[in-house]
């Protein structure tokens, strides 16, 4: 297939489109009136909601923490440590979410394809990191309720069950933190955890990033 033939074919396609393609001007006018109302994109809205919920959750836990510190005893040490860990991890996630909101605001389709796509891909990858970090808080949800009654009256059976749950969840959280990375994106468990649609989007993002890197290496 000669170069000239490709271009001729494309020119014929152009000519055909010129004749047969019509613009629905009424719909363009409709889009022009939507500019203000649709300025907030769904992605940003979800992240803003996550930040607000995260702040409310952290504030609530902080209140409980202050009360526990005020009435400190050995038995509420577990609550204090667990709550502090959850607050710290939640705040770390809030910070990343805020950074992402700023990044979303800065993403501009008006910039070159490579620049814009790199920014979008970076954003997508950092979403996985938030999930990884948030998962680290899971074990602390299995320890915050250790109390005086449990220590004084808890049977061995109860403690075996409790510590088994804590151990399993801690192992899973650490495993997830260490393994939920893009280099494992092709593995079936990754697809299972992140869901088919998110997985497809992430793997395409990874391949595209690879494509951009290959281009830049040449």
């Amino acid at each position: 297939m000669e170069d000239i033939l490709l271009k001729e074919m494309w020119a014929a396609y152009d000519k055909k489109l010129e004749k047969s393609l019509a613009l629905n001007k009424r719909l363009i006018t409709e889009i022009q009136t939507q500019k203000a109302s649709a300025a907030l994109r769904p992605l940003k809205t979800i992240k803003i909601i996550a930040v607000i919920l995260g702040i409310i959750w952290s504030a609530f836990l902080s209140g409980l923490l202050i009360l526990s510190l005020k009435y400190f005893s050995f038995y509420n040490l577990f609550f204090i440590i667990s709550t502090m860990a959850v607050i710290t991890i939640t705040i770390a996630a809030i910070v990343v979410y805020i950074k992402q909101i700023v990044q979303i605001r800065q993403i501009d389709n008006n910039r070159s394809v490579v620049d814009t796509q790199k920014a979008l891909l970076g954003l997508q990858m950092s979403t996985i990191n938030i999930v990884r970090v948030l998962m680290l808080s899971a074990p602390f949800y299995t320890t915050f309720y250790f109390n005086k009654t449990m220590f004084e009256n808890g049977s061995i059976g109860l403690w075996v069950l409790q510590l088994t749950i804590t151990f399993i969840i801690s192992t899973l959280a650490i495993w997830f933190y260490r393994n939920a990375k893009m280099e494992h994106a092709e593995k079936p468990w990754f697809k299972f955890i992140f869901g088919t649609s998110e997985w497809t989007s992430l793997t395409r993002a990874m391949h595209f990033l690879q494509e951009i890197e290959d281009y830049e290496k040449e």
Binding site: L23, Q32, K35, V113, S197, S201
Partner: protein
């Protein structure tokens, strides 16, 4: 809201470049419903950034950047119906006169849609007879890089055509 004059300029820019928008959407979307959503999203994003249009570049450069960025991002999403603009019931771009594509053209479109995303963008720009300089501005790659890639992609297409013809 933009003044009416700006509205009209935008409309005429879209009218002038509707073929480009259609071809890009066609290359990145195989299904008619997705294509309709993509066209809507591209035009919506063009309108959103119209007041930031930098007249240092041509309208076509600005339009290609946005249309390709939106198409590539859209292609990456698995659940497509997340367009920023509101749902429109009808098509923005309507093919009024159905004329059958030649077999060669169908093959060319198929081969282009099988290329990786960035290669696809390069090939579209090449076939639209954009200069290397403009292609570099749109894509954010160097002219040398683009020249090397074009030769490789053309080679790939040539091979695909000859395989079809021989089989």
């Amino acid at each position: 809201m933009a003044p009416p004059k700006e509205d009209n300029i935008f409309l005429s820019v879209i009218e002038q470049h509707k073929g480009i928008i259609y071809k890009i959407a066609n290359s990145y979307c195989h299904h008619a419903e997705d294509r309709k959503d993509l066209i809507q999203e591209i035009i919506f994003q063009l309108w959103r950034s119209f007041d930031r249009y930098n007249d240092q570049y041509r309208y076509s450069t600005w339009l290609y950047r946005i249309a390709l960025n939106v198409a590539i991002s859209f292609y990456r999403k698995d659940s497509k119906r997340t367009a920023g603009a509101h749902e429109l019931t009808a098509d923005i771009l309507v093919v009024t006169e159905e004329t059958a594509d030649t077999e060669q053209l169908q093959l060319l479109q198929r081969f282009i849609s099988e290329l990786p995303e960035l290669d696809r963008a390069i090939m579209l720009l090449y076939l639209e007879e954009k200069s290397y300089k403009e292609m570099a501005e749109i894509l954010g790659l160097t002219e040398t890089n683009i020249a090397t890639k074009i030769n490789r992609i053309k080679g790939k297409l040539k091979n695909k055509f000859s395989t079809i013809h021989h089989s």
